[in-house]
Subunit: 239 residues, 2 copies
């Protein structure tokens, strides 16, 4: 059940059986959300953090003019709001982009982990740090990459992250989002998003149909994206 969490945390450093047991005690209370539902509401003060077991979720903010911007995409094995444990107040919302199965981690139990399990605490801390590293990469993509390169970079990142939790199928992965939602990831208008997708398709490196992205030329896709996975910390070493 927590396999994707173990795969996610375990890619950075080894997880002992005791730590897996602690995580098993921590995570309790499965919930289901339909596509489009809020998993966590902006402005709330949750008493627990949420882990994605299945589905795709996203953090977002909405501006006064109605504009929406996603600030991250969350795949199985990701905590969508682990930081709420210390940040306390949600300054943004988390939405289910596809039907999501999630499981909860009580903040009181998280606190006791920080009191008693320093190594596991560091791994959870690390998880939030990688979140930050991904944010930085997104900032660079938004500021200085061409839009096509930005999209290519997003696909590289998603493919690699999904591969870690065994949610890829050969060179394909499921991406249950509309072009309008993707536009809210890249910060573009829907029309221009469509242009950018067309351009990437026409370059022959990806195919995208039926909510499934297939990477046709992994080498060239990485090249277009200038993708360097260092920021995902995918090496196993003592932390």
């Amino acid at each position: 059940m927590l396999e994707s969490l173990f795969l996610n945390l375990g890619q950075h450093d080894s997880l002992s059986d005791d730590e897996k047991t602690l995580l098993g005690d921590l995570m309790a209370g499965e919930r289901h959300f339909a596509a489009g539902q809020d998993i966590v509401a902006s402005g709330s003060r949750p008493a627990y953090s949420t882990l994605v077991l299945d589905g795709l979720a996203a953090r977002y903010k909405v501006l006064a003019d109605g504009g929406r911007q996603f600030t991250s995409l969350q795949v199985p094995g990701d905590f969508v709001d682990l930081y709420a444990f210390l940040l306390k107040t949600m300054d943004h919302g988390v939405i289910a982009l596809s039907p999501c199965r999630v499981i909860l981690a009580d903040h009181s139990k998280l606190r006791s982990i920080t009191e008693r399990a320093p190594h596991l605490t560091r791994l959870l801390w690390l998880d939030t740090l990688i979140d930050g590293a991904i944010h930085r990469e997104w900032i660079v993509a938004m500021g200085r990459r061409s839009k096509v390169s930005h999209l290519a970079h997003l696909f590289c990142e998603l493919f690699v992250r999904l591969e870690v939790v065994k949610r890829t199928n050969g060179m394909s992965f499921h991406l249950p989002v509309s072009q309008a939602e993707l536009a809210d990831v890249l910060g573009l208008s829907v029309v221009h998003m469509n242009r950018v997708i067309s351009a990437l398709r026409n370059s022959g490196v990806i195919a995208w149909a039926n909510h499934t992205v297939t990477i046709l030329d992994w080498q060239k896709l990485q090249q277009i994206a200038e993708f360097d996975p260092t920021y995902l910390s995918m090496t196993r070493e003592p932390r």
Copy 2:
């Protein structure tokens, strides 16, 4: 000497004297950097993390075409690379934008804090979480705000952050960056950066000369920026 660190961490929850002593033991080895110098090199694996005592620093990435994007600005009291303690490898650089005085925190000592001082560990963790919250706000600003609003938001954020560590002077603060450097913050060309600055100046809410920004109309600046400081977690509560 560590006053700005205490002000920074202490704004979120109370710091005990013991914890201040621990921090005093942790931070050792002052360094100076001239404007333009790298404080931390991209690709390095530092054995310590760096706290800004004085000056302005920034994280950045450089792309193949030479384009540079800053991903954060660091003011006194900020760790520029606390995450390197667990991330291990720097996937980006940190540069001094003005002459910087910094002090170092050995990763081995940080580790022992995580083993022995859970509350202080949570506060340090929190510090990196706020980093992430700022990143998310920047992503929203880059994706969905107008450029003038983005700049206004940046000024709001800087003013508030500098106020916490007592580096404001009335409604003014020192901002030792060129327009070209600011363009690398917002992800704009220098020419357009100049247009955006002119627009904000002409709206009469700020003045900016001699590397000093003065907020002429705080109310209206916040309005233009749609600034909501929730993401900076500036409330003192048990963490």
